[in-house]
Point group: C2
Chain length 437, copies 2
């Protein structure tokens, strides 16, 4: 877990601001949930590998010595949303669009852009099974990435129903579907041989893997979705509906920025066990893994209340977005700003009260002002201003104090000018504007 020093925070704040702004354009409302959930809320929602990555919190007080945990840090923002939908149902519209940008925690091994505490930027729509939902979500995250300056990215699209149909056609027994998906989900990382090996370990006939990998490795045509569907032969109603759903999501997305980024990716499995329909993942060139992902989870809210609510969501990973933006130089110059516009410095301790008055006045005139706390030789505050890149030092000597004046020294131009206290803000702003402009 990491500390974020000022420039890190400015970068993060910039990206979060852009993403929140796009989400708001799509009518998503902000939601925040506590970092800590009851442990039962989280367990059993993420599949076999997720459970092991949950940070658990010891009971307090006299129960501490039992070594038992009753609370845990949230693992994602989707399960908390489902709990909120069940718990606050009366206060929320059934058709609810929310965004949530908060940290989550996973006791995972860290890697490039992967940390144990990291931020997710989620959008979800609850209350409808329409493919408009998936299309709106893809459009929103696509707009986010374009607004941040990403030129090339791919929204990979698949469907749990397509995966079911593929596994059935490959003759994987139904009771082994979850195992097969867990293996398939690692295709990116471990390759076809790794997947075949994992099939064997999990007690699935390697011939199934061969069939599966044959379809997935076929050459992609312009009508990859249709070609893939035909290749599977006769499908049942569920399988046909899944393909039709994907076709409609793609059709609806054509009028949005997502249209040019969407591609059908039949090997995409997504690890989390709560997905029920379309699943999505965003990739960029040269970055293994993804910038984010999501999917439809129509049964999750129902695990917290009698009545379910169909839902679908997309999550952008802040840390990986920051890594790629750093590598590609996508941050605007403004995020590397100085902490203040003016540093107020005195030479004699008895002038500190005048320094406070100067600072109050300049702040009232719209400037960001820091008072250098220790009086003395002017070299020290000048050196400090250079070190922390404050562009202007307001020097208060005996004569300035006597006449309600300020000597403004601009570090870049080395220009120096005496101004009356009431005019000092305007003078500073004009010169700093020149420097910045």
């Amino acid at each position: 877990m990491r500390d974020f020093l000022p420039e890190d925070v400015r970068r993060r704040t910039y990206v979060i601001g852009v993403i929140a702004g796009v989400y708001q354009k799509y009518g998503f409302e902000p939601l925040e949930t506590p970092s800590v959930e009851n442990i039962e809320t989280l367990l059993g929602k993420y599949g076999e590998e997720g459970n092991q990555l949950i940070f658990k919190i010891l009971k307090r007080g006299v129960h501490e010595s039992t070594g038992e945990a009753d609370l845990a840090l949230r693992y994602d923002l989707t399960v908390p949303l489902a709990r909120v939908m069940a718990e606050h149902r009366a206060k929320l519209p059934r058709l609810f669009r929310r965004y949530q940008i908060q940290p989550v925690w996973r006791a995972d091994r860290p890697g490039r852009g992967r940390f144990r505490e990291f931020y997710q930027c989620d959008v979800d729509i609850t209350g409808s099974t329409s493919p408009v939902v998936e299309a709106e979500l893809c459009a929103a995250v696509s707009d986010c990435l374009e607004a941040l300056g990403f030129a090339e990215f791919t929204i990979r699209l698949n469907h749990r129903g397509v995966l079911r149909a593929v596994l059935a056609s490959a003759q994987v027994p139904v009771e082994k579907h979850t195992d097969a998906l867990v293996a398939l989900d690692k295709l990116d990382k471990i390759g076809p041989d790794g997947v075949t090996a994992e099939f064997v370990t999990r007690g699935i006939d390697p011939a199934c893997a061969a069939r599966l990998l044959g379809w997935l490795g076929a050459e992609v045509s312009d009508d990859w979705l249709g070609q893939f569907e035909r290749g599977l032969g006769d499908l049942d109603d569920q399988g046909r509906a899944a393909f039709a759903n994907l076709r409609e999501i793609i059709r609806l997305s054509m009028a949005t920025s997502a249209g040019r980024h969407l591609t059908f990716e039949p090997s995409l499995a997504r690890g989390l066990s709560y997905y029920t329909g379309a699943i999505m993942e965003i990739g960029v060139p040269d970055l293994p893994g993804s910038l984010g992902g999501g999917g439809r989870y129509d049964n999750l809210v129902g695990m917290f209340s009698k009545e379910g609510i169909p839902s679908c969501g997309f999550s952008l990973g802040l840390e990986r977005i920051l890594v790629v933006m750093g590598e590609q130089g996508l941050f605007p110059a403004s995020v590397a700003g100085a902490a203040a516009d003016v540093l107020v410095a005195t030479m004699r301790p008895e002038d500190a009260a005048y320094a406070m008055r100067v600072a109050t006045t300049l702040r009232g005139q719209g400037l960001r002002v820091m008072v250098y706390p220790d009086a003395g030789k002017i070299q020290k505050p000048l050196k400090y201003a250079e070190e922390v890149r404050i562009p202007c030092v307001a020097i208060l000597g005996e004569s300035e104090v006597a006449r309600d004046e300020v000597t403004l020294k601009f570090l870049a131009s080395r220009h120096q000018e005496v101004a009356g206290l009431e005019q000092a803000g305007a003078v500073a702003r004009q010169h700093l504007g020149d420097v910045r402009g």
Copy 2:
């Protein structure tokens, strides 16, 4: 711990934005630290009562069954700052002004405006012992509260050196000073009799309590600080320096907004054990406890590295500020906004792609737009728009789709108007501006 529904988040975001804006005006730079710290970092920094309120995290994997904790949720933002100053010393200026607005966790009993997960809005200045530091901090938090609309509040000021002098004059033995301060800190809650009782429980002569409470209960004059100092009789150098320090902090604050809110409060003790100099706390009428507090802690950084750095900080409590603002009606009307400006609705499923095109176009024209996902009778989206207070519905029927048009229906005025797709944004903005204006 609480969920924050959209209006809650908007209120919180508004307050955080105002506070961060003021802090930036004072040249404070943003810092963020992880929610989770090594448990040794936190233990032993907060005094006897703090340690018990720390949420501890179980070791993971094979170590889980030991019931041992190696991590913990942070209890405040001051100890993490001290750790950061020690750990990242080379990357940070010694004179460092940082603000940090993040949640902290305490396993405390909840009360009005008191929760187990809550946000602190901290400002700290490290690297100087000058009273300018205290004055800048008091001015910053005072500006925050004034910017939020607080009219009446008091910044109570005291000094650990004054407390030491008072306890010495009251003949409390030095080894009982910490006990006496813990008791005195509760004067607000348990009254003079409670403090006397706690003195006895802690093995301190109740005559000490009587002397102490006599001074603290004396009638306050215009020169309360001077009167109080004289009442204590002869002081040692440390005691005199503490009073002189407070006098200088008050003098420097007179040129800032804090001047009219500062009062000397000799009974103020502040529970945390890391304070070494001036201590501050903000009170408002009719709210027991405080909106925030802080003080000087010159030895805390030294607990994490060989070389110490004198430091001082102030922390505003977000939750209590929100409670008082709610009770006093201080939120601007803008925080109760609708999620979107326009709801796009279709009657026929085949028009969904046109709906996506309309939404994309209107968003490009600066509007916040939501697509109603399910086609059908127009009553449903109209009712929904009313429920979630979206002021305009874009209705797409057969003829609108055929002609690239949109029928805009404004719910407040019941005005309805057909517009070409390219003009629709301007028409909607004009009408919504009228309604809002």
